[in-house]
Amino acid sequence: MSVETLMPYDEALARYEPVLGIETHIELGTSSKMFCGCATAFGAEPNTQVCPVCLGLPGSLPVVNRAAIESTIKIGLALNCSIAEWCRFARKNYFYPDMPKNYQISQYDEPLCVEGHLDVEIEGDDGPEVHRIAIERVHMEEDTGKSLHVGGSTGRIHGADHSLVDYNRAGIPLVEIVTKPIEATGAKAPLVARAYATELRELMRALGVSDVRMEEGSMRCDVNVSLMPRGSSQWGTRTETKNVNSLRSVERSVLHEIERQAGILAGGGRIIQETRHFHEDTGSTTSGRSKEEAQDYRYFPEPDLVPVAPAGDWIEELRAGLPERPAARRARVKADWGLTDKELQDVVNAGALDLIEQTIAAGADPAAARKWWMNELSRRATALAVELAALPITAEQVARVQAMVTAGDLNDKLARQVFEGVLAGEGTPDEVAAARGLKIVSDDGALAGIIDQVIADNADAADKVRAGKVAAAGALVGAVMKATRGQADAGRARELILERLSG
């Protein structure tokens, strides 16, 4: 394999203008598959979520999952698309061992949703910059099974002795979202690509149509990149980088393709229209299947399924049920909670927006709600290597802990212990506090003896306070807290100490 010479990014951008196109596959989060009643749980034992339909057994027939249609329409509406009055499924014919029927039920020239857009924001040179990404189409199709390549050294397809196929994923509903060519983004092309994927993921989350976990493949991006010389309006040959599995990789794969293609073009070479694979470890892409001999998919209308003709009132019902769009929501939250752009971004990236909002709805103030989720609970989620939302604690419970703090029953240190107990499955915050005996001691009688002992043990500090150096009381309060294992009301302890030493 010849070593490719990459052109430095700035130089590449000075000479060429990138044109992007992004095809995103979203696995819908329906309970059952697209065309049969098999479950869709991720990670089930191989070939246990299959039936005659999704195995493509002779004689079986597909029946469309209504929820999948509704999700697709919702996605189309959220992307400002028009919804087709009448459309059909089509068969895309090609042979592949992980595709049970050797055709994929998809949509061809009659997609359910067409002509939309999504606005995405990036940090431009002079502040925030909005790019409108035009959406060509949103259509439905079914996923394939998964092959495990056995033998050879790498588990990759090349050099394998044989493959083992699990059809659990076959027939899971997929929505494919295809952009129109994204032009005139210049050096920001990688950022725009990433911002688009990020915004799309947020939108899918907000719609509740998919868990959009890129690492599990429930959101997969294929990124098309081509370059045209500056001053030209003739698009170049494009490559398609497949299955880019993180937002960061979307950005890096675009950057790499720009540098790689520019290097080839500058050397007098020619870009081959092909599929490429992105490698997370090196940040580079390598050649896959050449598309020089165009596939002939022999699309034709799927005779086993009848056309879909969504009635206007059905569409309007779905439109009325759409949640607030992520961009609008972010603007509102930013204003309501008084966040900076950076703080908001952190909340969004942490996947904490919903949780904080729910915690506020359950009675906590915004600052406290954000504090708990972004600090203590984020730390614990990281330690457990789970998403924030997967922690075994509800927003209502977080709000309850905060209410206990506000009421003076807990301080922050005790609150953290309550969280620990709840996450350990010891019960509700109240049950944990009761069982562990976590409650601030503010009773003067109980504190008096401890304070006397602390003053006796810390004569130096006590003398300083007596001499008017009030700051020295801090050490005494600390000692009280230590003696009570943090359960004393620190404010009350301080008052009592000052009272005692002023007399």
Partner: protein, 98 residues
């Protein structure tokens, strides 16, 4: 326009049929006759005639999003030419996924 042997070889490839030279010749002759016979449909003029893909004009046939019992892995694999560890064992795959 007669159908050529090369075209038949292309059709065989698309249909995933490993045909020998004799078979290709045989099918080329027959397909040529058949295709000239069925080409009569082209006598039907008219842009304005809609195409019919389905015998009856049904629309919007859906099922509720409900999970139904699946086959067991043993049932799924019962007819498999080869299996290994609850998966279908297939020969090495040359081409990459589309």
């Amino acid at each position: 326009m007669p159908i050529t042997r090369d075209e038949v070889a292309h059709l065989a490839r698309l249909s995933r049929l490993a045909l020998g030279d004799d078979e290709l010749d045989h099918f080329a002759a027959q397909l040529d006759v058949i295709i000239s016979a069925v080409a009569r449909v082209q006598e039907v003029a008219a842009e304005d005639i809609p195409a019919t893909s389905h015998a009856l004009p049904l629309t919007n046939v859906f099922r509720p999003d409900e999970v139904r019992p699946c086959l067991t892995a043993d049932q799924a694999l019962a007819g498999a030419p080869a299996a290994e560890g609850d998966r279908f064992r297939v020969p090495r795959i040359l081409e990459e996924e589309s």
